[in-house]
Each structure stands twice: as C-alpha cells, then as structure tokens.
C-alpha cells in the first residue's frame, strides 16, 4: 500500500458539509487540509455544455449505481434486494456532490425541531406518541443555533423575506418561522406567472404565503468569503443540473473560488475512501483508492467524514467504528434513526387555456405556506400530531423530454399514436404546477441502516442496506396532505379559471402502501450517526464529534435524529459551521471530547 506524508486534517467528501469544514479550518488555522472526493472535478464551464436532458436521464451528476448502490428490504424478516438503478434518491459524486444538483430550497427548521422529543411529550403526553418512534432532542436549542443558520445563509446568499425579525412579525414573510436576527442576504426571486394564482388562492383561504427562501441568488451577490456571483437568469436546467452561472449556491460557485486561494488546502478528485484507520479510540487516517486505482494510506491527525448520510454511515460500518444498532434490543447507535422524507399532495391537474411559459423558471422559485407546519391549530380527522409545509406555485424545471406527453387522464385512449400526439401537443405548457406538502419525517425503532451480507460495490466492499417501511402513521400523513392539497388546488382553480381535472393522490409517497425503491422521493436522508446529549443515545455529540473517537467528526444529515417538514440543507450547512467551531475553538485547543 502506498503511504502518503501525513496531513493535519483529512476530509472525506466535497459537498457543502465537507467544503465548509475545509474552508473554515484552512482559513482560520495554519493546518494542512486534504479533501478526498470519489468523483471527478466539476466546473461552471462544463455545466453550460450540460444543458441537456439525456445525460441527466443516464447518470448526470449522480453516483453511478453500476459502481455502488444500496440494498432495500421493508422489514428485517426479509432478504434485501439491490436497487439496480438509483431512482429512490440521487446521491451525488464529483466536486460538490449532491450540493451541485440540488434544487436550492433553503429554509430553516422550526425551533421545536431541535427539542422535538420533549416538545411532543409535553404537548401530547407520552400516550399519543406512537411507541415505536425514536425521536430525540438534538442536545442544543434553536437559540444556540441561530447564529449558525445566519452564517449558512450569508455564505450561500439565501434569497427571501424575513417573517420574524427578533420576535417582531413581518407580514409578507413567514410569520411562523423562528425569530431571526437578520433580514435575508438577498431579496426574493421574481415570481413566475403561475405563482400569482397560488398566492391569491392562499390569501383567499386565509393563509399566510411568503416567498420561499432559496439559495439561488436574486441579484449579484458577494459572500463573506469574497466570492461573487450573478443573480438568477431563470433559464431552467437547474435541478439535477449544475448551475452554469453559479447563481445557485453550490460548492463550486460559493466555496471553491475561495478555497483555491488557500495554500494549505488540497482537493483530490477520483479518490474513493474505503476505510478509516483507527486504534484505541483514535483515528489515524484513511485508506483510499487513488485516481490510478492504487490503494493509498493518508495519515492524518483529524478525520472529518462528510460523505452524505448513506456513505458516511457505510464508512463507519466498514471501519468498525461505533456500536451497530440492534432493532430488537435497541442497543447500539450506529445505523439508527434512518428517515427519508417523502412529500404528499394531490388534488388534481390544473389545465389552463393560456400558455404558461413554464420553461422560464428555476428549481426553487416558489411560495411557501406554513400555517399548518409544526403544531396544528386543532385536531384533524387523520389524527396526525403535526402538519406540514406547502411549497409551490412554479414548476422546478420544464424541459421538453420530461414534459412532452403529460396529458389529463382520459385525454387520449393510450399513451402513443396520433390521438395521444395531438393531445400531447395541445396540453404542452398548459398544465400548471400542482400543490404539494412536505411533512415531518419520524424515526422508528425498526427502520435502520447496516451492511448487506451479500452484495458488494466495485471494490468488493459490502453495500449499505436500508430496512425501512411505512406505518399507518405515514399513510395518515399522506391522507392529511392529500385533503389539504385538494382544498388548496380547488381554490387555485377558482382564482385562475383553470380547469381542475381530478387525478389520484399525488406527492411521491401518497397512494402506496410500501416504502419502495422505484419512485424518486427526495434526497433528504437522515440518521445513522445521530447527535445527542449522551453516548448511549447517539453516535455523536452536538459538535458532531464521535463519542468514541474524539478526533473524528461526522458532518451532515446523518446527525439529524429526525427530519423536519423543511428542506434540510441550510440546517446541514449550519451544523457544519458549528462542527468547524467545535474543531477550531475547542478540539484543537484541548484535544479530546469537547464538553
């Protein structure tokens, strides 16, 4: 095995989590930082040439499942099956990871998310909480976390409008959000034509719509690292694509330009980490396959794993770090609290007479409605404890291959031939965006991650195995979202004069009994190495430092004990800032467990 010169810090993964850690450590200390990234380099110049749909249909910016996938089973009585295509979620690869391909929705979590276990127990009493939920408090509160949110928003240049500035409610913003100390770094994006109807309908229903916070800059913006980028051009090719102008915050547009100037920073692409080497509770470095396929040892004093939930958790398993979770006894913490956010919705198809120019958009341009997010104002027939967040008003992207042929049910006898072609041409660009609701996603005792006993990746290492199933509670969440969305859609039809054509339950979970590996849900996967206040309850402390290996930090959504209705990335970036402070202000001054 090749053995490299030791470095001070080695970081696995170059998404937002990894590169925020790299940037903070490289610019605030004199330490040498090496980032290892399994995929190729990415650049804005290349993204211009990727304004295409066919490459996205094949593998695009995603991890190629031929090299590595996951296996899935619904219960631990079953044998898991490999997902031969990665449709379930889209793990990223290459510089920037999934943080290049993301849509950019950039809201914060509600304050009670950080203390959810306590909050629900106090509000409902232990009896009404499903007994197999393994919700946990984070171990820190929103107030302690607010400044980290702000650093994340400033770095990414989030566009939006505050609804709660230091406790003062501001109409037009999200008045249900936690108090923030600063207005957003950028004003909201320009709304599209269809968003106007969504807004009007929300007001007519007595809701409080607000421009959804997005990490897509609405104007020229320079972040605190001195990195400048232009505002959005609304040209589409955004979600699952890299942004060619960098208006969307991506590691390549908001972090790499600053990191490239740091002399103590190096990024190695095509470097696939297979193991963290450790002895007696101390990480000694990592073993990876370098760009020539040569097995290489990179010794380091401090190891940061930021490979996104499934890969970070798998790396801990492959390295034998932490106690594997046992769903039968509840012992062990590694792999526990796997959650995957799905969205509900439905209510029908809105068909307009006029053309909508839906292709003029960007991926996270929308309004939000949070009147039902978090605690519900009253009990609902579905018996869910908490509601969800409506997001919508515009389509995320409208490209010809994916949009051509979408017609109302019954508009043609089958999905090919002359009649279908005629309908496809006629309906193109006239079916408006529907209504969707994202909801809290709760962890269960029986849902977890471990290594598959049979299937392996291209190097021969075991694949990660998901054991995951919906319960009656998720079905009730889908039913709640479907009912609320139907009401909203009806009102949009009224204010827009669009024709409402009924379809089945929508969203990417509704209407199905099992958690399946076929339909894309989101790439919001949490848990496996969660944070908490004590080592018997969590793998990490609140600085994302490993309880049993203090010179190892595991940064990302793996740390979230449950997921909020909101999109997770702003929270992930904020957690990375806190982990960086943990390293720089605490660990380096006094190596060992922080606390």
């Amino acid at each position: 095995m090749k053995r490299l010169k030791p470095t001070d810090v080695v970081i696995v993964g170059s998404g937002f989590a990894g590169l925020v850690m790299a940037k903070e450590i490289a610019s605030r200390t004199a330490l040498n930082v090496a980032v290892l990234e399994r995929g190729p380099a990415r650049s804005l110049e290349k993204y211009v040439e990727e304004m295409d749909e066919i490459d996205i249909l094949r593998v695009g910016l995603g991890q190629n499942p031929a090299e590595q996938t996951i296996t899935l089973r619904n219960t631990n009585k079953q044998t898991a099956v490999p997902l031969r295509l990665l449709a379930l979620f889209h793990p990223g690869t290459g510089t920037g990871g999934a943080s290049e391909a993301w849509a950019g929705f950039g809201e914060r979590f509600l304050p009670e998310q950080m203390v959810l276990a306590t909050h629900l127990r106090e509000k409902f009493g232990a009896k009404r909480i499903p007994p197999d939920w393994t919700i946990r408090d984070w171990g820190i509160t929103y107030d302690e976390f607010e400044d980290y949110y702000w650093r994340a928003e400033e770095m990414m240049g989030v566009s939006g409008k505050a609804g709660n500035l230091n406790g003062k409610l501001i109409p037009g913003g999200n008045i249900f959000e936690g108090p923030r100390k600063h207005e957003f770094p950028n004003p909201p994006l320009t709304p599209t034509y269809t968003m106007g109807f969504w807004y009007k309908a929300a007001l007519a229903l007595g809701y409080h719509p607000y421009p959804m916070p997005t990490a897509i800059a609405s104007q020229n913006y320079t972040n605190p690292y001195g990195v400048s980028r232009p505002g959005c051009f609304y040209s589409g090719f955004c979600i699952n694509h890299g942004c060619k102008t960098g208006a969307k915050a991506m590691p390549t547009s908001v972090l790499m330009p600053a990191l490239e100037n740091e002399k103590n920073f190096v990024l190695r692409n095509n470097s696939w980490v297979r193991k963290i080497v450790h002895r007696d509770g101390h990480a000694e470095g990592v073993v990876y396959m370098d760009e020539n396929g040569e097995e290489t040892m990179q010794p380091a004093d401090l190891v940061v794993v930021a490979a996104f939930t499934p890969d970070s958790v798998r790396l801990l398993y492959l390295s034998g770090i932490g106690d594997p979770y046992d769903p039968n006894t509840g012992d062990g913490t590694l792999g526990m609290n796997l959650t995957h956010q799905v969205n509900g919705g439905g209510g029908g198809m809105l068909v307009f007479d006029e053309p909508l120019n839906l292709f003029m958009t960007t991926s996270s341009l929308s309004y939000g409605v949070s009147d039902f997010d978090g605690d519900l104002p009253e009990d609902v027939p579905e018996g869910v404890l908490r509601g969800g967040q409506f997001t919508g008003g515009a389509v995320q992207d409208y490209l010809p291959v994916m949009s051509f042929g979408r017609i109302p049910p019954g508009a043609a006898p089958r999905n090919w031939g002359s009649e279908w072609k005629k309908a496809a041409i006629s309906y193109w660009d006239r079916i408006g965006p529907g209504v969707g609701m994202s909801m809290d996603t709760y962890p269960y005792r029986q849902n977890y991650m471990d290594l598959d006993p049979t299937y392996t990746d291209k190097w021969g290492d075991p694949l990660l195995r998901f054991t995951m199933e919906y319960t009656d509670y998720e079905q009730r969440q889908f039913a709640y979202a479907a009912r609320m969305s139907a009401q909203f859609t009806q009102k949009i039809a009224e204010v827009s004069k669009a024709k409402l054509i009924s379809t089945g339950p929508g969203g990417n979970g509704g209407g199905f009994r099992h958690y399946d590996g076929v339909r894309y849900k989101t790439t919001h996967i949490q848990g496996g190495a969660i944070m908490g206040a004590s080592p018997d309850q969590s793998a990490l402390n609140t600085w994302l430092q490993h309880w049993k290996t203090p010179n190892l930090f595991v940064v990302g959504s793996n740390a979230l004990p449950q997921n909020a209705a909101g999109h997770p990335t702003t929270t992930i970036v904020a957690l990375a800032y806190r982990a960086a402070d943990g390293v720089i202000d605490h660990y380096l001054k006094r190596p060992g467990l922080i606390g």
Binding site: E53, I54, R84, S235, M360, R414, T456
Partner: protein, 224 residues
C-alpha cells in the same frame, strides 16, 4: 468484423441540417439522392423495423412531423451502442433474484440491447410489410412489455432531445410545441409574457454556444 450497416433516409425529407448534424460520420448520397446514415448497433433490417414501430408510436400526421422526420431510430441506435445499451449505468452484480418490481425495480439481466433484440423478434420480420392498422394491433399486444415501454420512452426522447443526440432533426420536435431550446436567460421574457405565448424559432445547444457539444453517448473513455 461486422459488416457496416446503414439506414437510408430520403435526402429531401431531411434537408441540410442532417448533413450538418451528422458531420464526420461518413455520409454519402446514393443515386436516388438518399442519405446513408451509418448504424452503430442495429442491422439495417432491425433499424427499419424499429423505424416502422416508432412511426406508429409518434406518427407523421396532420399535426406535423413524427418519429421518422425526427430521426428517432438513429437516436435509439446511438443510445443502444453507448454504455447505456450495455448497462454501464446499472448495478449488475449477482445474485440475481426475483423480487416485486413495484418495490425493487427491474431485477432481470437483460440489457437495453438485449431487450431491443428480443423486442424486434416480437415485432416480427414482416412488421415493415404490414399495414399501419395491423402494425398498431401488433404493438398493442406488446404494450405491457418492458420492450414496448422502453421503445415508447425512447421515441419521446428521440423526438424532444437536443439534436446533438441525433434525434429531433431540424428541431422538428421542438417546433411542434414551440420550445425555444436551451436559452441562456429569460429575465426579460418572464415579465414580458405573462400568460402569453413566448414562441421563437428554436436553437440547439451548439447553436446557442457557437461550438459543437459532445453528447454523452459519444463518451469514449471507459465508464467503468
């Protein structure tokens, strides 16, 4: 070595753009003024069968051009010859097991190439000789097969993709619906066209950028 196979297109139907978009691929016009497009995967006979099936899936009719004018068969040929056709983007390690495909997705061993070869067999050697009605009936029988669903989706892709992929010739697909191509900005148009059609002559990516763009299927470096 395999004999080089071609498919013939009437040059008039294709116009100059085809010559432009197929540059570098040995194009020759024969005595009857037909353009020979070299095939990468299909034999000439297979290409004709797929072309005939595609013409029923997206017919040429009073609504305008269809799969034939778009060159869908050439698009599919290029895709099948690429890494995609041999499952370079799919996990293919065993053991292979039977499982509920609505939960776990397709678990069979067939590559897209295999699926097409089998599907062409199902369409039959006589497919091109059938009347359009008879062809439809044969396709209807296959509607639920993996082959048909793949072919149907590939037809939409071949009609609506960027012309760099050899489908959507002359941007006939985009002209059918009024899609302007991958324009770089809609800042002004967003507010100037609320509920009003913004329909301009489409441009392909390479026209917009002013230089050729290499499609994924031409990637020469090994994927694995």
């Amino acid at each position: 070595m395999k004999r080089r196979e071609f498919i013939l297109f009437p040059a008039k139907a294709l116009g100059g753009a085809v010559l432009y978009s197929l540059v570098g691929e040995l194009i020759s016009a024969d005595a009857e003024d037909r353009v020979k497009v070299p095939l990468r995967f299909f034999t000439e006979e297979e290409a004709k069968i797929i072309q005939a099936a595609a013409a029923r899936i997206i017919p040429t009719d009073e609504c305008g051009p269809g799969a034939t004018e778009a060159g869908v068969v050439v698009y599919i040929d290029r895709q099948l010859a690429s890494g995609y056709g041999t499952d370079k983007y799919r996990y293919t390690k065993g053991p292979w097991v039977e499982a509920d495909e609505t939960i776990f997705g397709y678990q069979g061993r067939s590559t897209p190439q295999d699926t097409y070869r089998a599907g062409i067999g199902l369409l039959g050697k006589d497919f091109t000789a059938l009347s359009p009605e008879e062809q439809d009936r044969r396709l209807e029988k296959l509607e639920r097969t993996r082959f048909f669903q793949m072919l149907r989706d590939h037809c939409v892709e071949g009609l609506m993709c960027d012309p760099m992929h050899k489908g959507n010739k002359n941007m006939v697909g985009w002209k059918l619906i009024g899609y302007p191509g991958p324009q770089l900005s809609y800042i002004a148009e967003m507010e100037a066209y609320p509920g009003k059609a913004y329909r301009v002559a489409p441009q392909s990516l390479s026209q917009i950028l002013g230089h050729p763009v290499k499609p994924v299927e031409d990637e020469t470096k090994p994927i694995l």
